[in-house]
Symmetry: C2
Subunit: 306 residues, 2 copies
Amino acid sequence: MPLLVTGSIGIDTVKTPYGVSENCLGGSAIYFSMAASYFSSVRLIGVTGPDCPFDLSEIFAERDVDLAGLEVRPQSKTFRWTGSYYSTMNEAITDKVELNVLAEEPPKVPEAYKDSKLVFLANTAPTLQSELLEQIDKPIFVAADTMNCWIHDRKSDLENLLKKIDCLIINDDEARMLAADSNLTKAAHKILAMGPNIIIIKKGESGSIMYSADGSVFLLPAFPAEDVKDPTGAGDSFAGGFMGYLAQVKKTDFESLKTAVAYGTVVASFTISDFSLQGLTSITKRDIENRLEILREVTNFSLRTL
Amino acid sequence: MPLLVTGSIGIDTVKTPYGVSENCLGGSAIYFSMAASYFSSVRLIGVTGPDCPFDLSEIFAERDVDLAGLEVRPQSKTFRWTGSYYSTMNEAITDKVELNVLAEEPPKVPEAYKDSKLVFLANTAPTLQSELLEQIDKPIFVAADTMNCWIHDRKSDLENLLKKIDCLIINDDEARMLAADSNLTKAAHKILAMGPNIIIIKKGESGSIMYSADGSVFLLPAFPAEDVKDPTGAGDSFAGGFMGYLAQVKKTDFESLKTAVAYGTVVASFTISDFSLQGLTSITKRDIENRLEILREVTNFSLRTL
């Protein structure tokens, strides 16, 4: 099932207690596409300036990532982000952000992408997410990310978007903020009432929760990784593994969504094990399958051991 | 298998966003015993003053809780605790504490209790925990709780205790503090190296993690409860469900420990649904079994949904 992602392509500088990674490749569309490419082909939509030092066709060589939706704007500059992580590394502190091309009009969806059936709208202004979504003919399952600034400053734009998507993937603080409820279960139900059929709440090292509008629930801990070096891209890698699996199996029933969350969790655990894309690109599909089996083993319990 | 608990009996005053509960029955030994009584008989060791307004034989009527280890000291006063919970209710703020009888010498273990095989040493000074433990002849499985003040002020006493117990049950902040490591997986392994074969780290609404010295791991989310009114006693109820199940099945292999963690999780979810003991006493064993089945269902995923 054709999978499309719209998101950022960035030049990141990241500081963590384990080191510094300067001017490395980042951005939501990059992490998403790399993660999803282990499961499915991916259509990438994003924009850079001519200053982007990375050759994406080389970065994605031997991966089934279609770059026909990549636009290089001669008069613009590439998005740049500088951030730091401290102590438990659950949250990034933005030291500097240069929106550059992201502050301009959104890219156009190429004609050949309009039949995409699975769509991930990575975090950006909700009006831009809506504009991008309107260009797709008949998507089957649309997931979106957002963040605190849009919840705070563009609540009604976001509420409009929520009526048009199937699945919202956000973190726990964002869910509490959007629902104005500190109890995550209650917050989830309030957000489902705003439109989406599925909400996935990411809780960093505490895993994730998925709720459906029809009352189904799925709780999954994070993979117990010892080596967390750089959490950048964890959320977009999670989304990439999640959507990539759905594209692979061509199903979006709740049982498939559960397995997709588990794959997203595992893929994200590789991303955070090293700086930039290194943790995600140095593995094979077999490594992902192995960790999925471990994750199932360490979360499974018997009802009786008599 | 005879199960013994040593811990506090208190008069609590608790404020949460959902109300106030004044001068209600609390204390670690009380929550533990009530929770464990759904699975097994319990031997309770604790001390009060004559000012204690609660008739424990009435509180535990129709439950198999042996109060032969209850001591009322005529010259002493009962332990009192006043605390508040705010917003996400993950942490209690102590407004006032009157140690009273808890600042005196520990109770004596009755002769009839010395053959206890499962022992839970609720949170108190590590030297007192060690003194109590020395009075038990040949326990099979000893679990203990502790807290930040002992980790900070009585580190070497605590390290001595850790060499004598099988299982430490603490929360995530305490684990990070004890191990001096912000990564919970690494912290767990450092604590296992201090003595216990098993460590269970409780993460409030994010569930719990169990590690064994031989490398086994178990991760379990919290029960997705909407109605959290008062988290007081959650940890001791968890320990009560956990140890109660082990006493019931008379086994301490890792598979049984996993199921025991799941029972502890479920029992704690009832405790936090109402003030004081009300959430825990208003249920039946069938309610516990039902939630255990739900917990298994919502944490289970398929490796493939092709």
